[in-house]
Subunit: 698 residues, 2 copies
């Protein structure tokens, strides 16, 4: 093995587990338990002297499948350990308890980590105390660049390992040792993808660090603290997760003003009290007109407030987001300039931007695929949702009519058939759509992981949102039945909360107590390998989509229909305060640690919230127009329906204009971040000029 | 003088005209007539050996005032000739016929030009054939960098001289020789501004190059050519002017589709013919209903077409604009990183972006001034416009009523009083507003020239537009009188065209024939100095504002009210084809050559056209709703007014949505420009990393 590493040989099938490197664990209080003390013998050798360290931190676990014979495992370990210039991953590998076991534990030497940090375009603290884009050549001027466990976050270290594994490409046609001849690698094939396809690698996941996790959970959800340890979350889970929790936090606190206003209106406005009583009790009692209504109702005030509020919140979030991104060093990510994502395919060519040889795929082809395939297919599915809803309404009316005709037990049960069928249909459609959306996005062939994620998320988001709101929109715009809308909204809000509390707090708690706890007790005297293996028994983290869509749907209830139910914000605020804890508990305890790439913002979700905030103006103006109070008042004042409508349209246009102007005037990043960014641009420009001088001189 | 340049002395009052430099004019066919053949003796000496050239091209003329005694003139010439490190401008100066005359002719040596090219961030052709940001250190790798007359455009060379003059700052407290003691310069005072204030410098303007001008005018407007020589315009007048003419060109050709559609509709639709006849003849004859109307009227089709057309045109212009900007090397301007504009003031401090010491002015203070001063004042003036219009209507009604009562000659003349008063009021208001807008923008204290220009233009634009359209909007939205609107629009279009043709073609021609021509005949045997002096007798170019606002108002007529007068596009197309020639003739022949900085786009005008294109959806939908045809059809179909209105609002929302989506989907720059831009970003990033390595090693 050492020979292979030294002479730069192409990974073959001749290696054996490499010599040991370094002695017992020395320092590093945090990771001492997980340190390589019992492990150090067995790690592959590092390929460069500066990376030799006393202890190796196990970061990622690779689970091998049935097909992986010891020969394949040895080849794999050697491949992972080989330097990058020889087509290896430049990582450290440990075969677990013995060379035949079905796990490989991975870690990364300093050089690989630092080079990947530069490639990813992460910013780190320079010796001046400023955040600067990390440059490998200048590594000694960055603070803590000798201690990887402080310099890089735990999430970054683990992501880098995944990044290196995903970047493994066959340098020539190659047979995988120990596998049938059918499993050969062509030149430039993605090795890790292939290994997954043929069943050699079943699973790759980052390892939890129990000490850090305990520390994190204590400061996150165990106590009664009001603020979240966001920097720690970023350290442990990465910026994707940290952005979600930051947004949840920000959004929850920004619910305070509308919640207070809602309480205020509910307390002082008799009309609102009456309406809410009706909507909750379900009775349609006659209005008691005991006193003259004020000129401007609470509803109107609430609606205008919430429309402007939503723009302010989103603009302020953009500023907060860019601040966080600066703090977490992801302001300047270089994904565009990195290698394309593993699933990307195209004809080999020279990238005009970076000058590297890599697969290229023309932009117009992707646009064409999106326009001619993706858009029609998504539209078809949205049409199917509407069709389902229409069938449901038709069937319901039909069944009611039958029941009136027959009035028997059988017809009674028939009453539930349309609802049940509709729920089954909706769920099936959602499942099918998810598969279709993934294939479509795969077919669009995005170069960058983030573009892929955004397009996939966008597709599912539109559908899910449509699915959630089709009925409410139908009631609001076609049936034009405000009391029914209010009733439906109240029940949705309360039911959603109950369901959320049960699924997110109660079930996780029960699972943890009665299923995970027995496992946990065993662990104390297990060897390290088994502890790692145990983490593999936890379910995979399902991703943040469900969490985000929950917030988006909430935000939809609040902004689109807020004027019919003033207490929406209060209910949501209460819900989100528990949501923060249950989400934190979930991700810490109930799932495997997920891989998340560093990201600079919450991506397509920001756009979704923004779009919703503009749609809310249309829906609120419409709902206010429908409100019986306004209709009556205007009739008394001698205004025709048309005049009222023209007035509403004018108000709507003015509000949209105000929102557009507000969004344009509030800068998307704080002044100091803008200056830092411009400073980076300036120094880059200067450096470019300087470089030309150097080229000149040499 | 040579001593002063060598020992780096601070410019004082001891210099005399410097020695001659170089012999007779050698090559350079283009500028041979203007070359320094008769001039070379008398130019100040260049401060660096590489800049010594055989001939010096006179670029800019400085006209001195009465106050400039020969002593002051000598000091000024020396200051201009001193190297930049000594606080001079690093330019070449020539005292004209003798040391006591009231002109100074300026030119620039190679080094000054190249350094300024780098400072401005201009892109030039690299030896590879690509456009790259010019770097002084790498100058030899740029094509033609040894021949300034090919490397830089004539407009750039002249602008650089203005740039250097504007950048002159006193390095210490200083008395200007030959002036009273009250005229002293404080440290860091802007010298050129001060000289203008105290009356030493009366005028600074770039010199025409008759040969080049003749060449340009021949290929521009003398023949029957359909396309404009835009690159030559950029070469001679700079990118601001070239962008205006490019846009005029682009916009004129993009009028073809609506013009053809308009002709088509006018030819086939009897209704439209009848309406147009009415609007032109002014008669309100009874409609003759001889055949059933088709379901969708020509108006509707025209309106929807023009709404979508405007978005497509603007998006395509953005792409064209970025292509032009790339070709003209202004894609990457570094104004943000350069010294602030001369009028900028603030407390001295370290610029966090560039690290230079310069006046700083906090962003929030500027925002505050805009929000609390500029916005209310502009609003006030807009209010005054509305007030004026209301007074006019009131007075007109009043006068008509009086006339009916009295019916005498006096009351007959009284009928015109309101119109006359309104015109006087409007013009006075516009003049006052222009002064106020300039002061406001000055008070806002913008750091960059382009920001200053954009804010000033924006202010005047909003007012002028409001002034032009207030009456039409009043007719459309308050009087709701479509026939009157049609009549007014037709007369505006025809009158505007006639007035334009007269003011822009006939008058210029007469002026040139009978006023400029006699001067021109004298010129042949005059000394060069007098020819230069003669250029000073031409009026200053009034700027592009009037030209742009004419296009914007046109575009307003077309997009806002197109559905009432389908032939608008045809009339505008004809108008613009002559407009191109007359504008070109005007700028070439009737005015002094203007200074224009290099710009990357047409700035705030793009935004104005974009906003108009969105407002057009609202106005067109409204006008269609008002159309008597639609009202009648819907009544016959049994639709209530409210239903019709809801329908119109829905159509409007859908159209706006479609426009937003179209604008988002059409990329603002062509794919190849995006790649070039990303390539520049990538190389800058690499250079920054590389630089750190060098710092490390050294």
């Amino acid at each position: 093995m050492s020979k292979a590493a030294d002479d730069g040989g192409v990974p073959g099938g001749r290696g054996e587990p490499a010599q040991q490197l370094g002695g017992e664990a020395a320092g590093g209080k945090l990771a001492s338990k997980l340190s390589a003390s019992s492990f150090t013998p067995g790690w592959t050798k590092v390929s460069c002297p500066c990376c030799a360290s006393e202890r190796v931190e196990p970061l990622v676990l690779v689970k091998l499948g049935q097909k992986a014979v010891p020969e394949t495992k040895r080849w794999l370990i050697k491949l992972i350990g080989a330097p990058q210039k020889d087509g290896g991953a430049g990582l450290l590998a440990h075969p677990g308890e013995d060379a035949t076991g079905n796990i490989i534990v991975l870690s990364a030497p300093r050089c690989t980590l630092l080079r990947a940090t530069e490639e990813l375009g992460l910013c780190k603290i320079y010796h001046t105390g400023e955040m600067e884009a990390f440059a490998y050549n200048d590594r000694d001027n960055f603070r803590n660049s000798d201690n990887m466990e402080v310099f890089l976050t735990s999430a970054e270290r683990q992501y880098i390992i995944k990044y290196e594994l995903d970047g493994l490409r066959a340098q020539k046609d190659l047979r995988i040792p120990g596998l049938p001849d059918s499993c050969t690698l062509q030149k430039r094939d993605n090795i890790w993808q292939k290994l997954g396809q043929v069943g050699v690698v079943v699973d790759t996941f980052p390892l939890h660090n129990p000490d850090k996790l305990k520390d994190l959970s204590e400061s996150w959800y165990s106590g009664n603290q009001l603020s979240q340890p966001l920097d720690k979350v970023n350290e442990y889970f990465g910026s994707s997760v940290a952005f979600y929790f930051s947004f949840l936090d920000f959004y929850t606190w920004s619910l305070l003003p509308p919640a207070i206003l809602g309480l205020f209106i509910a307390y002082f406005s008799r009309e609102v009290q009456r309406e809410m009583l009706q909507s909750v009790s379900g009775s349609q009692e006659e209005e008691v007109q005991d006193e003259p209504d004020p000129l401007i109702s609470g509803h109107m005030f609430q609606a205008v407030f919430s429309m402007l509020w939503s723009t302010v919140v989103i603009e302020l979030w953009k500023r907060r987001s860019s601040t966080l991104s600066y703090q977490w060093g992801t302001l300047n990510l270089a994904e565009r300039f990195a290698e394309p994502r593993p699933g990307f395919h195209g004809d080999l060519g020279v990238n005009p931007v970076t000058g590297r040889v890599e697969p290229l795929f023309p932009e117009w082809k992707r646009d064409l695929r999106m326009a001619l395939v993706s858009v029609p297919v998504v539209g078809l599915f949205l049409g199917l949702v509407v069709l389902g809803m229409m069938c449901f309404y038709w069937a319901e009316a039909r069944v009611k009519w039958l029941h009136k005709d027959w009035d028997s037990m059988i017809s009674q049960t028939f009453l539930y058939v349309p609802s049940v069928l509709h729920i089954v249909y909706t769920n099936m459609l959602a499942t099918v759509y998810r598969t279709v959306a993934t294939s479509l996005t795969e077919y669009e062939n995005h170069r960058e992981e983030s573009a892929y994620d955004n397009h996939l998320t966008g597709k599912i988001l539109v559908f899910t949102f449509f699915n959630n709101f089709a009925v409410l929109f139908h009631i609001a715009f076609f049936k034009q039945d405000v009391p029914l809308l209010r009733k439906r909204l109240a029940s949705l809000l309360i039911i959603t909360q109950l369901v959320n509390q049960v699924t997110e707090v109660v079930i996780p708690f029960l699972v943890d107590r009665f299923i995970s706890a027995p496992n946990r007790s065993e662990r104390e005297d297990d060897p390290k390998e088994d502890k790692f293996r145990n983490q593999g028994t936890l379910p995979t983290f399902p991703g943040l989509f469900a969490e985000y869509i929950e917030l988006l749907v909430q935000f939809g209830y609040l902004s689109l229909f807020s004027c019919v139910f003033p207490l929406t914000a209060v209910l949501l605020l209460l819900n989100n305060l528990t949501e923060i804890r249950s989400d934190a508990y979930k991700i810490c305890k109930l799932f495997r640690k997920p891989f998340y790439p560093p990201v600079a913002s919450m991506g397509v979700w920001k756009v979704a919230f923004e779009v919703l905030s503009f749609v809310s103006v249309v829906s609120n103006c419409w709902l206010l127009l429908l409100s019986p109070r306004l209709q009556k008042t205007s009739q008394e004042a001698g205004m025709s329906g048309s005049h009222l409508l023209v007035g509403a349209v004018m108000v709507e246009h003015v509000l949209i204009l105000v929102k557009v102007i507000m969004a344009a005037l509030i800068p998307d990043e704080p002044d100091w971040i803008r200056k830092k960014r411009e400073h980076i641009e300036y120094t880059s420009m200067q450096a470019l000029r300087q470089q030309k001088l150097n080229v000149q001189e040499s």
